[in-house]
């Protein structure tokens, strides 16, 4: 009995380890990273004490200057020093060059002698700089979470909006959800009829249609996106053909704008819509539609009252798949979109890859995850009655 249970445990162990290692642990790490205060307190322990009692309103305490000089004289691991610099520079651009420059000057000055910080760099007299240092000291911080929502702490410590020219994340997040929703609707509009036709055919015709929708999945994403650039550009095939036929007299703007993003993304994501719908259509008994017709239902009535409800689980699953995959896209919008089509993943990639600011990347990822999870729960509620019926 125990041996059997042990065996069962061993059998699911790979799954548990996999989920833990590649799903739960990264999510947890993302959450923790986004609220962690970083290493500033460890790198500047004496400054932390000197700033602890300062209210942030008046002049920074005189002891703070001496404390930071003493801290900079300490030997700290370069990687940790770099992490602290990164945290501070993210809140106050300039720390990146200011701290190494000051550290160099401090270490060159004779030990025990008073160092004139303002003489090294006038920015040391800026109260805002000291406020950033003070706020970077606690072990946990809400700075990243606030910044991800275009908010910040003002001088008095209250939550306030960032200046309008710096507010970008909420707009980008909204845009990401709008584009994903538009792509999902387009995929339904194309995918549902496509799946219905495919399911109604047999033999080589059905296989041909299935290959047509599967083929793009076997091609690299970049190749597919590049092909759309060739087709859609001003001198591309589509515009040339329309111009040649005399339908338009100047090229249509089909790419480097929202239209380009929607066309390319819909094409890439269409298989995720077609396949679930197709699978649910195949499960519908063939005699239901003739039965509906025999009972006097018009074609649109039998579609609306018989076929669509039965295909609904596939439609919902497809929509969810397309929507969630679309949320994470950024290469396709970057290559086929215009100025106003940037999606949130490219911003996350900028913080993670471009500036190694894992805190901001984590915070943005978190705010992408929350609505996505909420949607998934709604889907769970929606799909239950359909499954029970």
């Amino acid at each position: 009995m125990i041996r059997q249970r042990l065996n069962a445990c061993l059998l699911v162990a790979p799954l548990v380890v996999f989920l833990g290692l590649f799903f739960i642990w990264p999510l947890w790490a993302m959450l923790v990273t986004s609220v962690q205060g970083g290493t500033v307190r460890e790198t500047f322990p004496q400054t932390a004490i000197a700033l602890a009692d300062w209210d942030g309103a008046g002049e920074p305490p005189a002891a703070a200057g001496d404390a930071i000089v003493a801290d900079l004289r300490l030997e700290v691991p370069t990687e940790r020093f770099g992490d602290s610099v990164r945290t501070l520079n993210s809140q106050y651009p300039g720390f990146r060059t200011l701290l190494p420059r000051t550290a160099r000057a401090v270490r060159e000055a004779p030990a025990g002698e008073k160092v004139d910080l303002a003489g090294i760099d006038p920015r040391w007299t800026d109260r805002a700089l000291w406020l950033v240092m003070k706020r970077a000291m606690p072990a946990y911080t809400d700075a990243n979470l606030l910044a991800a929502l275009d908010l910040r702490r003002d001088d008095a410590g209250a939550i306030a909006a960032v200046p309008p020219e710096m507010a970008v994340n909420r707009a980008t997040m909204t845009r990401t959800f709008v584009i994903s929703a538009q792509v999902t609707l387009l995929c339904i509009a194309i995918g549902l009829p496509f799946a219905m036709i495919t399911a109604s055919l047999t033999g080589w015709k059905r296989n041909l249609l299935l290959v047509a929708v599967l083929l793009p999945l076997w091609t690299s994403l970049l190749v597919r996106t590049a092909s759309w650039m060739i087709l859609l550009q001003d001198n591309g095939l589509i515009n040339q053909a329309l111009l040649g036929l005399g339908i338009i007299d100047r090229p249509l703007a089909l790419i480097y704008n929202r239209a380009g993003v929607l066309i390319a993304m819909t094409h890439v994501l269409l298989p995720f819509m077609v396949l679930p719908i197709y699978a649910s259509l195949l499960a519908i008994p063939k005699n239901l539609l003739p039965a509906a017709a025999a009972l006097g239902a018009r074609p649109w009535q039998s579609f609306l009252h018989v076929l669509l409800p039965l295909a609904m689980p596939g439609l919902l699953a497809g929509s969810l798949l397309v929507f969630m995959v679309a949320l994470g896209y950024y290469i396709t919008p970057a290559l086929t979109g215009g100025a106003g089509d940037q999606m949130i993943s490219s911003v996350i990639a900028f913080y993670a890859i471009g500036t190694a600011n894992w805190g901001m990347a984590g915070a943005l990822g978190l705010f992408l995850l929350i609505p996505t999870t909420a949607l998934y729960l709604v889907y769970g509620r929606l799909s239950k009655p359909a499954g029970a019926a």
Binding site: T78, R96, V168, M229, Y256, G338, G340, A356
Partner: protein, 349 residues
């Protein structure tokens, strides 16, 4: 019985994992660069000959930059890359943050063998490259000569290409607004300088197509989607050579930068990587590069050995260097996060 089998299976799995880990230990020297026709040239001139000389394989990979990539590899311990070519901004941050090994300058022949800006504790310059205005001379009959022309949509109607992001866009906007090239960073650092650049960008916002990867501006120019674009100089001369295009470049107002060879901290092939970098820095090897791609050479002897007709195309040629400025690494490392945020907000407006 089954439990026994499971234990055996687990042992097998552990063994396979262990094997693949020792495999990773004895990894061959891995050199990382920017891909495309540049890396093709490097493979021919540096990677293959070094592999023949050392009688050991050299693996090469490509990347798109980003200090986060290097940091993640170093923090994970035992990075899977050894010698990496990085941009000046990554060199400065990575060196300050301890992501790179210190170079052995004795093996490189001493610091005075290279131009000053190519010398650092953690890196040695590999190429000097430029971002500049380029256009298709077969399509544009009047040649644009400055960033002011780039902004002049009445004289040159049509779309323009710019790299997505504040870097370069702000500098070029200020030059178009009449700021002399040498004073661009002074203005950007002064209060109101950034506002002025964004205001200038506003003037042609609707006419700009933003590109991300270095190959895109070539495609935009070739298809006639844009009349002119910012681009990397090496790519322009390379496409002219391979595809017979007649793209031209405007050197005054160009911004040059130096890419450097570095060794990732904790690289298991540290010594071999150092030998490779020394090999790639030898004048007789480096001087072959401009035959394939028009990048300037940081080794003084190598630069002197380039034939005159090829040298004229390089960012380091005196007539090209004249009106150019160096990218301000400190400015961008301080401000890239803040200004990217603002640039993205501006884009979305």
């Amino acid at each position: 019985m089954t439990a026994m089998r499971n234990i055996k299976l687990a042992g097998l799995v552990a063994g396979v994992l262990g094997l693949s880990m020792t495999g990773a230990m004895a990894r061959d020297l891995t050199v990382v660069s920017w891909g495309g026709n540049y890396q093709d040239a490097q493979r021919k001139i540096y990677f293959k000959p070094f592999s023949d000389l050392s009688k050991k394989p050299v693996l090469d990979e490509s990347w798109d930059g980003g200090i986060g990539v290097l940091q993640a590899k170093v923090k994970a311990g035992a990075p899977n890359w050894d010698a990496v070519q990085v941009e000046a901004e990554e060199l400065a941050i990575g060196c300050a943050d301890g992501l790179f090994e210190k170079l052995d300058w004795a093996k490189l022949g001493g610091k005075d063998k290279f131009i000053d800006s190519a010398v650092s504790e953690c890196g040695v310059g590999a190429i000097v490259w430029s971002t500049l205005l380029s256009y298709d001379s077969e399509k544009l009959k009047t040649a644009p000569t400055s960033w002011a022309d780039f902004w002049d949509t009445t004289k040159f109607p049509g779309k323009r290409g710019l790299r997505r992001g504040p870097k370069y866009a702000l500098e070029f906007a200020l030059m178009a607004d009449g700021v002399p090239a040498k004073e661009v960073y002074k203005v950007l650092r002064a209060p109101g300088g950034v506002d002025r650049a964004f205001k200038k960008l506003d003037a042609i916002k609707g006419d700009i197509l933003f590109w991300e990867s270095g190959a895109q501006p070539l495609q935009l120019l070739k298809s006639g989607q844009v009349v002119m674009t910012s681009a990397y100089n090496g790519r322009i001369s390379a496409i002219n050579k391979t595809e017979g295009t007649k793209f031209k470049t405007v050197w005054p107002g160009s911004i040059y930068a130096i890419d450097s060879w570095t060794i990732l901290k904790g690289s298991p092939n540290k010594d071999q990587a150092m030998d490779f970098i020394a090999f790639a820095s030898l004048p007789e090897n480096q001087s072959k590069l401009p035959q394939d791609i028009a990048y300037g050479l940081p080794s003084k002897a190598a630069a002197a050995a380039v034939p005159a007709d090829l040298a004229a195309d390089l960012p380091t040629a005196p007539q090209n260097f004249e009106g150019a400025i160096a990218i301000d690494v400190d400015f961008w490392n301080d401000n890239i996060e803040e200004l990217t945020k603002r640039f993205n907000a501006w884009l979305g407006k």
